[in-house]
Symmetry: C2
Subunit: 358 residues, 2 copies
């Protein structure tokens, strides 16, 4: 079953309005969730709505935040999200870095006292309309162990980069720094399937192919999966994201990051406020002339798409290509939803006395 | 056999002076090579000197470059390395971004018409003395295939981040975006050992444990090693580095990057000039106050070092820790050199009529 994107968006806006969001914030939050569903990052779209509502209802998300911008250098600063939803705080803060970029060619903010910010590319890609290069990263629910360890110390801490190409052919990365994102595990759990070696170790530190082992005290592995394959690098990347998002901003970091998932509770001890993000942008015209860089990027993209494939039926893609094609398709044919998500939406509609979007 | 770092540095300076480098450039180049040897990145130190000399002697490195800085926005610009050695151009350009950072809180340069820049952390870590956070990346000899492909399209394209901690306890990442760096393969080749699954595929796209397969037309794999383990992420990271280093700067990118390794020749067709780097820095005091961020970083480091280890005899480290310990040790006890490198040094000394450093 599929749903038209406008109908889905209207429903999400109404839900946030029911929870006392301002019209502006409800609209922004809905756009970010919808962007995940449109680009095929299904784990981060409407499927997460009930999770946000759980945090709102338990008082862990402030529905009427007073955001505060503290500019400390001409191109850098700190943004207090006042306990608000990350979907909105990251978008508003990104707008401020774009303003800095207009004047100085780059702009950067560390955000604290925030919460889950949804699909990271929705934030970095705000830069694209100005022909700026966007960066966004966030820390997240501690589920990933450092290399050589067996302790939940890092989130899947994504890195997102959006580089504006010609005619909307942009280069977009949005990648977890763990071997597999938690969303992939959730799919395997739901479908009762085993998972490949290298995603997870069990509570006692042993290789596991059972996706349920994560909830049983297990650990996601950093990108690279083991010592032989360089998982100290995935650990390093996740640490970088954690330090930029949490340490620089004054948010929590490492094992203290307040969890989003239902099977974990926040720690009593806190080393900062809420979760943190790091965002910003560079003016693409600030290096070579914009036209020269975009021409070169077009050559880059065409050359990489023509890479000799191991299996010609499975051609080499460029980062962001699948998401772009998915969005084009879903804008026309609607967003496919699975039964669990449909049931979730119906439950939300009933509880808030809203009309079902179906 | 070990060599005192001062003796080694004096020798390297003399070698570059013999090749008509200015005193300033010889000194800078020697410092960058030495930093690799001191921090234990042995593949990028004195062991590479003969490679640089080969490129100098064949006219592929300009020993008397006229560097040119083109500032295009207040915090961004383009740096023409005039065919000079990357060891020097990246250091000089990093100095310019530090100047930008003094005034604006951040600064960024894309460098073109450069050559191999050595150990990337030597450039990003220039920021540390100012309590700035340094970033450096470079494209490199095309040896890595994109995910799903079998073609040499990317270098091992490293990402380096240096974050200043208290009392010199800094957080430093310097990581290839491939599963294994070429240096590790070279060690296996030299020792006649097989390599783990996931580093390399052979010319026909099949898994290989033979390190010699790289020279026989094979390909290094992106970080993640295969589809199950997310090697599209390593490919995405390597692509990001390539676009920032080559596309934004006007250097070559992708398969056109002029190779450093002896077994490959430059392509006749070029899409830019030389190889490219991307460098810059943020003022750590530009987000939270410096003292608050450094206190938080200290908590972060201590907490991560105390991560529960799978094997207590093999404790969890933090990024940059091994390199820091190695440097402390080698400053006192000297830099260990293997027979091949010693022979290399003796050959260079003889050919340039220099006194052997041993």
């Amino acid at each position: 079953m599929s749903i038209n994107h406008s109908a889905l968006k209207s429903f999400i806006v109404e839900v946030f309005l029911c929870k006392q969001f301002s019209h502006e914030h409800a609209e922004i939050a809905a756009n970010v969730l919808l962007e995940a569903d449109l680009t095929g990052i299904d784990s981060h779209g409407i499927a997460r709505l009930s999770g946000y509502l759980r945090l709102i209802d338990s008082g862990r998300i402030n529905v009427k935040p007073n955001f505060a911008l503290h500019v400390r250098k001409k191109t850098t600063g700190r943004f207090d999200a006042d306990g608000g939803i990350g979907l909105v705080s990251a978008q508003i803060a990104m707008g401020h870095t774009i303003e800095m970029c207009h004047e100085y060619g780059s702009g950067w903010l560390a955000i604290f006292n925030s919460s889950h910010y949804g699909v990271g590319a929705a934030h970095s890609s705000l830069a694209l309309q100005h022909n700026y290069i966007g960066l966004s990263m966030t820390n997240a629910t501690p589920l990933v162990t450092p290399a050589l360890g067996k302790e939940r110390m890092l989130g899947t801490n994504p890195i997102c980069i959006s580089i504006p190409g010609k005619n909307g052919q942009s280069f977009v990365i949005d990648m977890a720094t763990s071997a597999a994102a938690n969303g992939k595990l959730e799919i395997a759990q739901r479908e009762g399937k085993s998972i490949p070696d290298g995603w997870l170790i069990s509570a006692n530190g042993e290789t596991s192919n059972n996706p349920n082992d994560l909830k049983e005290g297990g650990f996601l592995l950093p990108l690279g999966s083991n010592s032989d394959r360089g998982y100290h690098k995935g650990y390093a990347l996740g640490s970088w994201v954690d330090i930029f998002s949490g340490v620089l901003s004054g948010a929590n970091f490492g094992p203290w990051v307040p969890p989003f998932v239902q099977f974990l509770n926040p720690q009593n001890e806190q080393v900062g406020k809420g979760i943190g993000h790091f965002i910003g942008c560079w003016d693409m015209d600030g290096f070579s002339e914009l036209n020269a860089s975009q021409n070169a990027l077009e050559i880059w993209m065409n050359r990489f798409k023509s890479t000799i494939a191991i299996d010609p039926k499975n051609p080499v893609m460029i980062p962001g290509e699948i998401e772009k094609l998915t969005k084009e398709n879903r804008l026309i044919y609607g967003i496919p939803l699975n039964d669990i998500v449909i049931q979730d939406i119906e439950t939300i509609a009933t509880s808030l006395q809203l009309k079902s979007p179906f």
